[in-house]
C-alpha cells in the first residue's frame, strides 16, 4: 500500500514538481516519463535494426561487392568491406532480434501501454511505479547486452532470430559461442522487463480505472494493450524457460535439444513457437487497438461494432495459443498435427476479417480528416489486409510446402510488422506527440514522410512475394549460387535500391521529430478534438496526471453524437441526466 500513498503524495506535488533532475528524467517513476524513455530507446534500436537491414540488402543485391563505407568493419566481419557469410548470418539474426524484441514490441507495449493506460483510464500512475522504472532499466540493460554481443569473439548470434537448436546449442556448428550466450542472457533480461511491465499493466487496468470507466467504456487501444499484456505475461516465461535450457545445453552439458543423447531439436521449436505465436499477436494487437482509436477520431464517427472489436481481439488472443504449429509444417512434425494446426490457423482469419470490415464501416459515411495520424492509420488497414491475406497462402499446409522459408514469408512478415505495426506506430507517434511533448509535429513534413514511406515500403516488400513464389529462399548469403535464382537478381537489386530509399525517407521523420521537440507549434489541450481522458489535461500532463480524479460518463467513441453540437463528446463531459457517482467507502481487501 506504500505505493498508493506515494502516488497520493505525488498528486499533492502535481503543481510544484520538486524532484531532482535525476529523479525526473533518468530514474523517473512517472509512467509518462518512462513511456518517453522507452520511445527514445526504441527509436534508437529501430535505427540499429534498419541499418542492419541495409547491410543485408546490399549483400543480397550485390554479393561480393565491397560496401561503400565498408572500411569501418573489422576483418572478422567484412574484410575490405566485403561481407563474410558468417557476418551475413549474424546480420540476419540481429536484424530480426532488434526489430522484434527491441523495436516493435517495446514501441507498442513499452511506450504506449505505459503512456496511455493510466492517462486513458483516469489513474494517477501505474499500480507499481517503481517496478515500472525497473522494467525500463532492465530493457536498456538487455539492449546493451545485445549490442555488446557484436564486440565479443566470434561475433553475435548467427542462428537466426528463432535460434533453432542444435545450430544455436553447439558453438562448433554456428561458429558463435559467447555471442549466442549473450543473446540468451539479453533476452532473459528482456523477459524480466516484459514481465514487470505486464504485471503493472494488468493490475492497473483491473484496479485503477476512474469511476465510471467500466470495462466496456475502455478505448480499444486499452483493451488491446490489456489483452497483449496478458499474452506477454503468459507467453514470455515459456521463452525464458526454453532459453535457460538452451543456455544449459551450451554451458553445463545438459542435452535437452541435442539428439546424440536423447534430446529433441523439435522440442525447442515447439517451445519457441508456443511463445512465438502469441508473440506475433503481441506485435500486432496493440497496433490494431491504437489504429481503431485514430480511425474513429479521423472519421469523426463511433467505431463500428465496438463490442465485436473487443471480442475479436480476445478471439485472436485465444486462438493464438493453439496455432503455433503452422510455423512448423515442414519441420518434421507429425503430419497429423499439420492438419489440425491448419484448421485452427485458418480460423484466425475470421476475427481478423471482422476487424478490417469494422474499420471500413467506421469510415463509411464519416467526415474523414486526413491528418498525418489518420493517413498512417488508413495505410495500416490497407497494408495489414495484404499481410493478412498473404498469411492464408501459408496457412494452407500443402501450399506452405513450397513457399515455406522463401521470400514469400519475408514479404508476409514485413507486411504485417512494417505495413501493419510500424505504420500504426507512426500514426501513434504523430497522434500522441502533442500530449507527450506539448508541441505539434509538422503536418506537411509528416505527410511527406508518410507518402515516401508508403511508396517505397511497397516497392521493397511487394516484389518479395514474387521472388518468393519463384522459390527464392530466405537467409541466403549469395543468391547467385543457384542457377534458378539468377534471373531474380535484377528484382533483388530493385528491392535493395528501394530499401535504401525507404531508409532515406525516414530522415524527414527524424528531423520533424527532433525539430518539433523544440520548435514545434505549442499544442492545445485537445488538438485532435478527441474524447479520451488524456485530452482533458494539459499537454504535457503534470506529474500525477489528474488534479481531481475524473468521472467517466460514456464510451470513448461518441463522435458526431446527435446530443451535442460539436462533433465530439469527451468521456468526462456530463450531459443532463448524468449523475456523478458517489464513491463507496470500503475497498475490497
Amino acid at each position: 500500500m506504500a505505493t498508493v500513498e506515494a502516488v497520493a503524495g505525488q498528486m499533492a506535488h502535481a503543481h510544484h514538481d520538486d524532484r531532482s533532475f535525476l529523479r525526473r528524467y533518468i530514474f523517473s517513476t512517472d509512467h509518462k516519463m518512462i513511456g518517453i524513455q522507452f520511445l527514445f530507446a526504441c527509436l534508437f534500436f529501430l535505427l540499429v535494426g534498419g541499418l542492419l537491414a541495409m547491410l543485408i540488402r546490399w549483400q543480397v543485391a550485390f554479393p561480393g561487392k565491397p560496401l561503400p563505407f565498408g572500411g569501418i568493419f573489422p576483418e572478422t566481419m567484412a574484410p575490405n568491406g566485403i561481407i563474410l557469410p558468417e557476418f551475413y548470418n549474424a546480420l540476419v539474426t540481429m536484424h530480426g532480434t532488434f526489430m522484434i524484441f527491441f523495436a516493435i514490441m517495446p514501441l507498442l507495449v513499452g511506450v504506449y501501454a505505459n503512456y496511455l493506460i493510466p492517462l486513458k483510464l483516469g489513474a494517477p500512475d501505474m499500480a507499481f511505479p517503481r517496478l515500472n522504472m525497473m522494467s525500463f532499466w532492465l530493457f536498456v540493460s538487455s539492449g546493451i547486452i545485445m549490442l555488446a554481443s557484436f564486440f565479443v569473439e566470434g561475433g553475435p548470434s548467427a542462428a537466426g532470430w528463432t535460434v533453432y537448436a542444435p545450430l544455436s546449442a553447439v558453438p562448433e556448428y554456428s561458429g558463435v559461442s559467447a555471442g549466442q550466450q549473450l543473446w540468451i542472457v539479453s533476452i532473459v533480461f528482456f523477459a524480466a522487463s516484459s514481465l514487470l511491465g505486464s504485471v503493472n499493466y494488468i493490475t492497473t487496468v483491473i484496479n485503477m480505472r476512474a469511476p465510471g470507466m467500466t470495462l466496456f467504456r475502455m478505448p480499444l487501444s486499452i483493451w488491446s494493450l490489456f489483452i497483449t499484456a496478458i499474452l506477454a505475461l503468459l507467453a514470455v516465461p515459456i521463452l525464458a524457460g526454453a532459453l535457460v535450457m538452451l543456455l544449459f545445453d551450451q554451458t553445463i552439458g545438459t542435452t535437452f535439444f541435442l539428439p546424440e543423447h536423447g534430446g529433441q531439436p523439435l522440442l525447442w521449436q515447439h517451445l519457441f513457437w508456443f511463445f512465438g505465436h502469441p508473440e506475433v499477436y503481441i506485435l500486432i494487437l496493440p497496433a490494431m487497438g491504437m489504429v481503431s482509436d485514430i480511425i474513429a477520431n479521423g472519421s469523426r464517427k463511433p467505431i463500428f461494432g465496438y463490442h465485436s472489436m473487443v471480442f475479436a481481439i480476445a478471439g485472436i488472443a485465444f486462438l493464438g495459443w493453439i496455432v503455433w504449429g503452422h510455423h512448423m509444417f515442414q519441420s518434421g512434425m507429425n503430419p497429423l498435427l499439420g492438419t489440425s494446426f491448419m484448421v485452427s490457423t485458418m480460423a484466425i482469419a475470421v476475427p481478423t476479417a471482422i476487424k478490417v470490415c469494422n474499420w471500413l464501416a467506421t469510415m463509411w459515411r464519416g467526415n474523414i480528416q486526413f491528418h498525418t495520424p489518420m493517413l498512417n492509420a488508413t495505410a495500416f488497414v490497407a497494408m495489414f489486409t495484404v499481410g493478412g491475406l498473404s498469411g492464408i497462402f501459408m496457412a494452407s499446409n500443402s501450399l506452405d510446402i513450397f513457399i515455406h522459408d522463401t521470400y514469400f514469408i519475408v514479404a508476409h512478415i514485413h507486411y504485417v510488422l512494417f505495413g501493419g505495426s510500424l505504420f500504426a506506430i507512426f500514426a501513434a507517434i504523430y497522434f500522441w506527440y502533442p500530449k507527450m511533448f506539448g508541441r505539434m509535429m509538422n503536418e506537411t513534413w509528416g505527410k511527406v514522410h508518410f507518402a515516401l514511406t508508403f511508396v517505397f515500403y511497397n516497392l521493397v516488400f511487394f516484389p518479395m512475394h514474387i521472388i518468393g513464389i519463384g522459390g527464392h529462399m530466405r537467409r541466403i548469403y549469395d543468391p547467385t549460387q543457384y542457377t534458378f535464382m539468377q534471373p531474380m537478381q535484377p528484382m533483388n537489386r530493385f528491392i535493395t535500391i528501394s530499401a535504401f530509399l525507404l531508409f532515406v525517407s525516414q530522415i524527414p521523420f527524424v528531423i520533424n521529430f527532433f525539430w518539433s521537440l523544440f520548435k514545434g507549434k505549442k499544442a492545445e489541450i485537445n488538438p485532435w478534438r478527441d474524447n479520451g481522458l488524456e485530452w482533458t489535461v494539459p499537454s504535457p500532463p503534470a506529474h500525477g496526471n489528474f488534479e481531481i480524479t475524473p468521472t467517466v460518463y460514456r464510451g470513448p467513441y461518441e463522435f458526431s453524437s446527435p446530443e451535442v453540437d460539436e462533433d465530439f463528446l469527451p468521456q468526462t463531459t456530463p450531459l443532463n441526466g448524468d449523475r456523478r457517482t458517489a464513491p463507496e467507502q470500503v475497498p475490497g481487501d
Binding site: A159, P166, P265, C357, L360, M363, S398
Partner: protein
C-alpha cells in the same frame, strides 16, 4: 505471368492449383477492401460544417462478415488437406517407390543409392556427394537424416520441401515427370555455408537410369 518455377513432379500441379485458387480468392478480397477504402476516403472526405453519420454498429452486417470468411477459410482448409496428407503421410506414400537415403551435414548432401538389387543396406549400396539421380515416371522415397544441425530438403521444381532433423529419419517422396538437370537447395539456415549447400538433381529416362545404376554399383 510465370512466377512459379516449372512444375515437374506429379503433385506439383496440385500445389500450383491451390496457389492459384488462393490467389484468386485473396485477390478478389484485396481489390474489394482496397477499392472500398479508397472510395470511402474520397467520398467521405471531411468537409466544413458537415457531420458524420452517427451509427455504432449493425449486427446483421457484422454477422455477414463473420460468417463469410469462416466459410471461405474452411473450404480452403478442406481443399488443402488431401494434397498435404498425400505428400506427407507415410501411410499414403506410393508402394512401388524406389528407396534412396540422404544424409545431410554442414554443408553437403550424401545420397545413398540401393545398387542394382534395389534394396538399401545390402552390400552394393553406393554413396554420391551432392548428386541426386532418379528415373522419370517412377516414385522415389528418400529417407532423410542429418548428422549435425537442421537442414531442409528443397527441390523447387518438384514443389517439395522437408526439414531434416538430426536424430530423426523423415521420408520424402516425389515422382518426376520430365528429364533434365535441376537444383536441390537447403532451405533452413544451417550455418555459414548454408547458401552453398546445393545439390544437382538429374532426372534420367528409365533406361538411362538403369544403366547408370548398373555402372555405379
Amino acid at each position: 505471368m510465370n512466377w512459379l518455377p516449372p512444375a515437374l513432379s506429379t503433385y506439383a500441379a496440385d500445389i500450383d492449383r491451390i496457389f492459384y485458387v488462393i490467389l484468386v480468392i485473396t485477390g478478389i478480397i484485396f481489390v474489394a477492401v482496397e477499392v472500398t477504402l479508397i472510395v470511402f476516403m474520397i467520398k467521405y472526405r471531411g468537409r466544413e460544417g458537415r457531420k458524420a453519420y452517427y451509427i455504432e454498429g449493425n449486427t446483421k452486417a457484422e454477422v455477414i462478415w463473420t460468417v463469410t470468411p469462416a466459410i471461405i477459410v474452411l473450404a480452403l482448409a478442406f481443399a488443402s488437406q488431401d494434397v498435404w496428407s498425400r505428400l506427407k503421410n507415410p501411410d499414403r506414400f506410393p508402394s512401388d517407390a524406389l528407396t534412396f537415403s540422404v544424409e545431410a551435414k554442414q554443408f553437403e548432401w550424401n545420397f545413398t543409392y540401393p545398387g542394382i538389387d534395389g534394396v538399401l543396406g545390402n552390400g552394393d549400396d553406393f554413396t554420391i556427394r551432392n548428386q541426386l539421380h532418379l528415373p522419370v515416371g517412377q516414385p522415389v522415397v528418400v529417407h532423410t537424416s542429418s548428422i549435425d544441425v537442421i537442414h531442409s530438403f528443397f527441390i523447387p521444381v518438384f514443389r517439395i520441401k522437408q526439414d531434416i532433423v538430426p536424430g530423426m529419419v523423415i521420408p520424402v517422396w516425389f515422382e518426376a515427370t520430365e528429364t533434365g538437370e535441376f537444383e536441390l537447395a537447403c532451405a533452413e539456415l544451417c550455418g555459414l555455408g548454408h547458401y552453398r549447400m546445393r545439390a544437382r538433381v538429374f532426372v534420367h529416362s528409365q533406361e538411362d537410369f538403369a544403366s547408370w545404376m548398373a555402372e555405379q554399383s
